[in-house]
């Protein structure tokens, strides 16, 4: 039985790693949701393997909880799914984030230079009374 358990564990871990790769790549939020659902199913399988290996019966309630609660997240995400612009769901690389940040700072500087500096702490103008 030990050989069978190790073989099953290898299959499950390989499947889980492939699912995680899909979870990272996306391309849309709904693809990630589907991958998350599959991951929950694989998690149930892993708990079954632990229960078989140790002959523990107290793991069985964990399976019930996982099978009942596992779908709540994906239903919530599906409820609030919106049209995403092309490429929006991708995780940006470090260089892309740096380029975006430079662009934002340049835009801020341009805006500051364009606005007149008269009302930003210049000397008092006109007659000062009191």
């Amino acid at each position: 039985m030990t050989v069978v358990l190790i073989f099953c564990g290898v299959l499950l871990v390989t499947g889980a790693v492939l699912v995680l790769v899909r979870l990272q790549r996306g391309p849309t939020m709904l693809d990630r949701t589907i991958a998350l659902d599959a991951f929950t199913a694989i998690l149930i399988g892993a708990f079954v393997l632990i229960a078989v290996a140790t002959r523990r019966r107290d793991i069985v309630p964990i399976l019930a909880v996982l099978s009942l609660v596992g779908f709540v997240g994906s239903v919530t995400i599906a409820r609030f799914a919106a049209v995403e612009p092309e490429g929006e769901g991708r995780i940006l690389t470090r260089e892309e984030v740096a380029a975006l940040e430079r662009e934002r700072l340049a835009a801020e500087d341009a805006e500051l230079a364009a606005s007149d500096d008269e009302h930003h702490g210049g000397p008092a103008q006109g007659e000062v009374t009191g």
């Binding site: 069978v4 073989f7 099953c8 492939l18 659902d37 599959a38 149930i44 779908f71 799914a81």
Partner: protein, 122 residues
Amino acid sequence: MSTLLDVLAAACLVAGSGLALAAGVGLLRFPDLLARSHAATKPQVLGVLLMLAGLGFWLRSGPVTSVLVLIGLFQMVTAPVAAHLVTRAGYRTGKVTSESLAVDELTQDLRSALHKEGESER
């Protein structure tokens, strides 16, 4: 008898784990949302049921088996709901292209419904 049940449990566990691996490969290689959903729902129902059957054959105790049957029923109720809602959201946000489908009755029905509505307004 007990050896037979042990072998049956091992076979169920191996089959369930194999479905998990198949889901991983399918999720990674299939091109669009509906195909990936098809691959991902295999271990959610059949895979989990096989693993639970394996655990039941291995532990061979009445109370545990009844709870395992209940878990299988929960999984058969919740997994289709989640898959249906996710693919429905995908269709509504335009992630399903009609050209990649062999049969697309929903788009046809929506078109004919819109057509009828337009006629009745005239």
